[in-house]
Subunit: 257 residues, 2 copies
DNA sequence: CCGCGCCATTGACATGCATCAAGCCACCCC
DNA sequence: GGGGTGGCTTGATGCATGTCAATGGCGCGG
C-alpha cells in the first residue's frame, strides 16, 4: 500500500531559494520530476516564462484557501505544504502533504475555485503556474498536455490508495505506509530514505490517517519498541525497512512513469 | 458531506441501447452531463466520430482490469459499474460506483495502465472514448481540453470527499451520505430522488464505505426504524430527506470555533 | 419441486481505537 | 527565572464496529 507522492520540480533548499528567485525551469534541480521529458529547450523556456517564482511562504502561511477563485497550480520547490479541507461541522481533514518536486492545487480546476486550503508546514518556496497560460501552452505542446493529464491521473490513483488505506488498514499499517511514502519521496529527491525530519505535527498525521494523536503516538512508541523505527520527536530513523514494509503490507507498485 | 458523482452522458435506458448502437453524442439524452456546453455541432460530430458504442456488458462482466494497458476512458450510458482495486493481500477495495452520465477510467492515464478494475453491477451500456484520439481532439478544441481537465479535477475532489468520509464519519453518517449521493445523481438524470433500486450488494456498499456487511445491514435497519428510510432488500425509499441530511451532515455543535 | 449457494439480517461477543485524564518537555515571553 | 502554552506521551476506561455464528429469503439448476 502506497501513499500519495505527487510530482514536480525542486530547486534547492529553502534557504537558497529565498534569496534567489531567478531559478528557471531549465536549471531547476527538480525538473526531471516536474517537466515532461520530451520538451526541448525552447519549449522549456516558454513554460519557464509563465511560471512565477519568488513566493517564499512562512510556516503557517496559506498558499491558497478553500473557496477562493482558482487561477494557478503550484509546484513545491522547497519546504512542505499540507492541503486540507474543512468539514461542515468545522473539523479539519488533511488531504495531502506535498514535498519538493510535487504539484498541488489541481482540485480547483473543476469548479474554478479551490476545493481545499493549502498552508506551509515550514518555510517553503513554490512556483506558481497560472492555469490559463498552462492551458494555452498545452494546446500548442501536446507533450505538456499529456503530462498534465498524467499528473492529475496520478493524484487520482494516489487518493484511491489513501481511500484503501483508510478503509481497510489498522493504525499501525497506516503509519507504516506513511513513513514508507515519505521515505520513497525523499529517495526520489536523492535524500536519505531512512532518516528524515517530519515537517508535520502528530495532529496532522493523525488527521490525515484518520487517527487520533494518542493513537499516532502509541504506534510510534510500539514501532520503536520493535526496533523498526527510532523516533525522537519529529526525527525519524528507519531501522528495519523490511519490517516496516511487512507491517504496511506494501505492494511495491512504485511510480515509474 | 458528499460522495462522488462523476460526470458524463446517458442515452436512454439499457433496453433501448442494447438494440440501438447508433446513438450519437448529438442526440444522446445525457450529453448535457457528458459534453462541454461550448461545443458547436460540427465539433460534437468530430467527437462523435471517435466514440465507440455498442458494448453492452452483462452483469459481472469486466469493462477493464487492473494492470491492462490503458487506451480509453468510458462513459456509462445505462446500468451501473463498480470500480475496484485488489490489495496485495488479495482483498478488494471498491473505489467508486458509476451511473449513467458518468465517466470512468481516468486513473489509467498516469501509468498507461488501468489502476483499477471495472465491472458491471447489472447489464450496462458504455461509450468507449479512445484516449489518444481524445488527446488529439483536445489540442484542436480547447473547450474539450478544459472539459477533461475539469472532469479529472472533479474526480479528485470527489475522492477527497470520500477520504474525509472514511476518516471522520460514523457508519450511519457514511451510509446516509451514500444514499444522498445516489439520490442526487438520480435527480440529475431526472429520475426519482427518493426512490430507487441499489445496483450493488451490501458487500460492495460496506467495502466502499469501509464497513462490514453486518454493520451496513444494521444501519439500514436502524434508519428504517427511525422512519428515515424504507428498505426492502435493494429497493430504497427515502422517507425523510431532511433527517437523512441531518445524519449525513454531522450534528452541528454549539461550540463554534 | 427440491436443494444448493448467495445474500441479507440479527444476536452475542471481542477488540481496536477514541476518549478522558494526567504529566512531561521544549519553547517563548514577561 | 518563572510561568504559560502547545505538542507529545502514557495510562485507564468505554464504545462503535468488527468478528463469529445462526437463520431466513430468494434465485437457479437439476
Amino acid at each position: 500500500m502506497n501513499i500519495p507522492a505527487k510530482s514536480v520540480g525542486e530547486g534547492g533548499d529553502a534557504r537558497k531559494c529565498t534569496h534567489d528567485f531567478r531559478v528557471s525551469c531549465g536549471n531547476c534541480r527538480l525538473n526531471t520530476l516536474c517537466l515532461p521529458i520530451a520538451l526541448d529547450s525552447t519549449e522549456v523556456e516558454r513554460l519557464d516564462n509563465i511560471v512565477q517564482r519568488g513566493r517564499p511562504l512562512q510556516k503557517g502561511e496559506h498558499l491558497y484557501q478553500e473557496g477562493v477563485s482558482f487561477s494557478a497550480v503550484f509546484a513545491v520547490r522547497s519546504g512542505a505544504i499540507k492541503a486540507y479541507r474543512v468539514t461542515d461541522d468545522g473539523r479539519e481533514q488533511v488531504t495531502g502533504f506535498y514535498f519538493p518536486g510535487e504539484i498541488l492545487g489541481m482540485d480547483g480546476i473543476s469548479k474554478n475555485a479551490h476545493a481545499c486550503s493549502a498552508r506551509a508546514l515550514e518555510t517553503s518556496a513554490v512556483c506558481e503556474i497560472p492555469f490559463s497560460a498552462l492551458q494555452e501552452l498545452s494546446v500548442q505542446m501536446p507533450d505538456l498536455q499529456r503530462h498534465f493529464f498524467q499528473l492529475m491521473s496520478r493524484e487520482i490513483t494516489e487518493d484511491q490508495q489513501l481511500i484503501t488505506l483508510l478503509s481497510k488498514n489498522t493504525a499501525e499499517e497506516r503509519i507504516a505506509a506513511l513513513m514508507l511514502s515519505i521515505s520513497a519521496r525523499n529517495a526520489r529527491r536523492k535524500l536519505s530514505a531512512t532518516q528524515f525530519r517530519l515537517p508535520m505535527s502528530r495532529i496532522d498525521i493523525g488527521n490525515y490517517l484518520g487517527l487520533t494523536v494518542e493513537t499516532v503516538s502509541r504506534v510510534f512508541s510500539r514501532l520503536q519498541k520493535l526496533d523498526i523505527l527510532e523516533v525522537s520527536n519529529k526525527e525519524i530513523k528507519i531501522l528495519d525497512l523490511d519490517g516496516l514494509n511487512e507491517i504496511a503490507n506494501v505492494h511495491v507498485r512504485d511510480d515509474e512513469d
